[in-house]
């Protein structure tokens, strides 16, 4: 992991926070690579995946990782809820958007979705489905926050809730969480997900 300060490439104004580009990319290769350790990044860079999710990156050493992804013509998303050292607030979002130039931000918090949209990066809200009793309130939060795209976890729950989600919020859906087998990927895509997110490298085309 690079610890020296790296001058960012000429990216200001070039970073694309457009959802259309994201969906275009997923229509070609419907997989996002979840990278939780820097060692996994090279494999993601050489794969065909168009999008990389950084799951718990070191905030202040994040720049080179994100720029390496973008230099390959891929989109970089950062999970702000799990990031170490960075405030989970507007200032944290502004840092990721302006200083690092991420394409999008992943969060489960509605307030951070609003902050991400204000910074004109793609706002991906995680729908964490651990409990059926929590579904109505989670959907209400989603409806209120109106992210650009939704990530539903875990994958095994997706078929059980996809109709309820669609009835409430007509947003593109990514399915993640324990996606380890090709059959799981295929099932999610067949049920209308635009992509899956997975850290299982064998599913990175």
């Amino acid at each position: 992991m690079a610890t020296r300060i790296v001058v960012p490439p000429a990216r200001i104004g070039a970073v694309d926070g457009s959802v259309t580009r994201l969906l275009d990319a997923f229509s070609r290769v419907p997989v996002a690579a979840v990278v939780s350790r820097a060692e996994e990044l090279p494999r993601a860079l050489t794969s065909q995946v168009p999008v990389v999710f950084f799951l718990r990156p070191p905030a202040f050493h994040l720049g080179p990782l994100v720029w390496a992804v973008q230099a390959r013509g891929k989109l970089a998303f950062v999970h702000i809820d799990l990031i170490a050292g960075l405030g989970k607030d507007r200032a944290g979002i502004a840092f990721l958007a302006r200083e690092i130039g991420v394409n999008g931000i992943i969060t489960s918090h509605s307030a951070l979705v609003a902050a991400a949209k204000a910074e004109r990066v793609i706002a991906m809200q995680r729908l964490l489905l651990h409990d059926d009793l929590a579904v109505p309130s989670a959907l209400a939060a989603l409806e209120h926050a109106r992210p650009d795209i939704v990530e539903v976890l875990p994958g095994v729950i997706f078929p059980l809730v996809v109709d309820r989600i669609r009835a409430r919020v007509p947003l593109p859906i990514i399915v993640g969480g324990f996606m380890t087998e090709p059959e799981q990927r295929n099932a999610a895509l067949e049920r209308g997900a635009v992509a899956i997110s997975t850290g299982t490298t064998s599913l990175w085309p």
């Binding site: 979840v34 939780s36 799951l55 718990r56 799990l82 964490l128 489905l129 651990h130 409990d131 059926d132 009793l133 976890l153 875990p154 095994v156 729950i157 059980l160 993640g176 969480g177 324990f178 380890t180 850290g199």
Partner: protein, 193 residues
């Protein structure tokens, strides 16, 4: 601990007095208070506890209680409840001092989250760990068993008795469901071999 422990593989998850009564009418001797205001259903819960019903409370889900020692003392000493569930290890450590059975909740949403949850298990060893959603148990059981041999409960998204059976066959000891039709079918169709 003189309060009752578990007496079967199905744990009805309730959220109000009427769902409590439905579970008791079906003959269940144990319930999980999963949601709703605990204080609003206090009367029925206390009388159930007096009749020897094992009552477990999801501290992360119910309303009306602070996450502190006073709340735990109230549940243990005044109400005679059997145990508590939480994702918060410090709360469970506190609960064990009040002789409540402690159940470590772990969200099985993705492998990173599962790992974090399993690493959060502290001493004293919990009475059980509760995996949410339950339907992820078949996928995550091998990973769990690398870390802990604690009994496993599955909670969340159990919408049929057949699904409950799958969770138990995957190695869970207990499965919770909030659906009365599942409680009923579970009795009709014996699923524990």
């Amino acid at each position: 601990m003189r309060t009752p422990g578990l007496s079967g593989a199905m744990l009805p998850a309730i959220r109000d007095g009427s769902s409590l009564n439905q579970a008791l009418d079906l003959g269940y001797r144990q319930v999980l208070v999963e949601r709703g205001s605990l204080l609003a259903m206090l009367g029925p819960l206390v009388s159930a506890a007096r009749q020897g019903i094992a009552i477990f409370v999801n501290l992360d889900g119910v309303e009306g209680l602070a996450g502190d020692s006073a709340a735990l003392a109230f549940l243990a000493t005044d109400l005679g409840f059997s145990g508590v569930l939480s994702v918060k290890p410090h709360l469970l450590r506190d609960a064990s001092r009040f002789r409540l059975r402690t159940v470590q909740r772990i969200h099985a949403l993705d492998s990173t989250g599962l790992e974090t949850g399993l690493n959060s298990i502290v001493s004293p060893a919990p009475y059980a760990i509760a995996i949410a959603p339950a339907v992820a148990v078949p996928q995550v059981m091998p990973t769990i068993r690398l870390t802990t041999m604690a009994p496993v409960w599955g909670t969340g998204f159990v919408t049929s008795a057949a699904q409950a059976k799958e969770v138990l066959l995957a190695g869970a000891d207990v499965v919770a469901s909030s659906r009365p039709d599942v409680w009923l079918d579970f009795i009709r169709i014996p699923v524990r071999g």
